[in-house]
Each structure stands twice: as structure tokens, then as C-alpha cells.
């Protein structure tokens, strides 16, 4: 009988150990990585630049003259084409400026998003800190109650034991 009781006590104590709370594993936060953005260079040297046009200055009778006495400027087809090409370059620059505006605004959007991300990260850090504080307070409170309980139990048990012993001695 005594053997059975001892075995039962051992089983119950093993069960108690087996039912101990599982180890706390915190949730892994999502992995966020941002690649470094390389610098942007607006390389306009790749656009073809026509040679400087050759001017033919003329007087009112369309006879060639010096630039000081000139009334008209005569352009050959080839020279006129250079001016038209310059107009095309101007138009291209206009288009590129439009696209660069989009590029700048997109990068401003990215900066704003990153600012929002930092704000959220700060909020998260605060929330984690609050959780940590709450856990720490709960742990301290629980520890305090547990210690108080232990002291009281031990104290009263001691009193009862001594009292019982004294009562036993008196009875004998």
C-alpha cells in the first residue's frame, strides 16, 4: 500500500513537471529590407548636337555683306536643318523635364512613405515597450504575491507544527 502511494506521488509530481508552461517564443517580425538607390545622373550629352550653323549675311539687295551692314540672314537647307534640329532638341528637353518632374515626385513619395514607415516603427517600438512594461509589472506583482504566500504558508505551518508539538507534549 505504502509503495503504491509513493508511486502515485511520484507519478503526480512527474505530471506536474510535464505540465509546466511552454517556453515563450516571440513572433518573428516581417523581414523588411530596402536596397540602396543609386544616384541619378541626367546625362544630356548623349543627345546629338548639330554643328554651329554657317551664316550668310546680306544687304537689302540680297548681296553678301558683313554682319554690321546686314539686313537679312540667308540660310541654306543644311543650315536651316540645324535650326530645326535645335527646335527638336528644345522639345526633347521639355519632354525630359516632364519626366524628371515625375521622377522627382516619385522620389518625394518614397521619402514620405519612408517617413511614415519610421513613424509606424516608432509606434511599434512604443507598443513593444508597453507590453514589456506590462509583463515586467505583472511578473513583479506575481513574484510579490508568491513570496507573500510562501511566507504566510511557512509561518502558519510553523505555528501549527509548533502548536501541535506542544499539544502532543502536554498530552503525553
Amino acid at each position: 500500500m505504502v509503495k503504491k502511494i509513493i508511486i502515485l506521488c511520484l507519478i503526480i509530481s512527474f505530471l506536474g513537471v510535464g505540465c509546466s508552461p511552454p517556453k515563450f517564443i516571440p513572433k518573428e517580425p516581417p523581414i523588411v529590407q530596402f536596397e540602396r538607390t543609386p544616384y541619378y545622373k541626367a546625362d544630356l550629352t548623349t543627345i546629338i548636337q548639330p554643328e554651329k550653323p554657317v551664316y550668310l549675311w546680306t544687304d537689302e539687295n540680297f548681296k553678301p555683306t558683313s554682319i554690321n551692314d546686314a539686313k537679312y540672314l540667308v540660310l541654306t537647307k543644311k543650315e536651316f536643318a540645324k535650326f530645326v534640329a535645335q527646335l527638336k532638341i528644345k522639345e526633347t528637353f521639355k519632354e525630359i523635364i516632364g519626366k524628371q518632374e515625375v521622377l522627382i515626385n516619385t522620389n518625394i513619395d518614397i521619402i514620405n512613405s519612408l517617413k511614415e514607415y519610421v513613424k509606424l516603427e516608432q509606434m511599434k517600438a512604443k507598443e513593444y515597450r508597453d507590453l514589456w512594461t506590462d509583463s515586467e509589472n505583472a511578473y513583479r506583482q506575481e513574484k510579490y504575491y508568491s513570496e507573500l504566500n510562501n511566507i504566510m504558508m511557512k509561518g502558519f505551518l510553523g505555528f501549527i507544527s509548533i502548536g501541535a508539538l506542544v499539544a502532543l507534549i502536554i498530552a503525553l
Binding site: K27, A81, L87, K99, L103, L120, L131, D134, F156
Partner: protein, 106 residues
């Protein structure tokens, strides 16, 4: 004998007080545990909401980065197209065509 009985009763009373006190402390502890659990659950939910928002923001950043790269490519394309057109203009040997081109670009 009377003293012994009184002593035993006293010890019983003491044990009863001990039981009541420990029960009171345990009850208080249980309430704190419940409050702690609720606080932790609310906190975890808040963190989850923030993380979801962060994922949305990250997605937006990635979309913007893609748009930025796309715009850079478009600028390169504009340059390429412009170069081809400039080459065509420079070899044109017709005043009418050149004037028409100039009017369009003006």
C-alpha cells in the same frame, strides 16, 4: 484535556485564517493575471495592425521604386527617339519639309 482541545481549536482557527488569506491573495493574483492577459492580447493586436500597415507602406515604396526605374527608362527612350529624329532632320534636303517640321516644333 480542556487546554489541549482549546489548543487544537486554536491551531485549527489559525489554519483557517491562513487558508482565507492565501485564498484572498490568490484571487487578487488571478484578477491581475486576467488583466495582464487582456493587456497583452490588445498590445499584440495593435502590433499586428501596425505591421500590416508597414507592409502596405513597403509595398507602396516598392511600387514607387518600380515607377522611378520605369521613368528613367522612358527618359532614355526619349533621348534615343530624339537622336533618331535629329539625324533625320539634319539629312533632310527639302525646305518644305523642314519648314513644316519647324512649324510643328515651334
Amino acid at each position: 484535556m480542556k487546554n489541549i482541545i482549546l489548543g487544537i481549536l486554536g491551531l485549527g482557527g489559525l489554519a483557517g485564517i491562513a487558508y482565507l488569506l492565501t485564498t484572498f491573495i490568490n484571487k487578487k493574483s488571478d484578477i491581475l493575471k486576467a488583466v495582464h492577459k487582456i493587456t497583452q492580447d490588445i498590445g499584440k493586436k495593435k502590433v499586428e495592425v501596425i505591421e500590416k500597415k508597414q507592409i502596405i507602406v513597403k509595398q507602396k515604396i516598392e511600387d514607387d521604386e518600380r515607377l522611378s526605374e520605369q521613368t528613367k527608362k522612358e527618359i532614355v527612350e526619349i533621348k534615343k527617339k530624339a537622336n533618331e529624329e535629329i539625324k533625320e532632320i539634319l539629312v533632310k534636303d527639302n525646305f518644305k519639309e523642314l519648314a513644316k517640321e519647324a512649324d510643328e516644333l515651334w
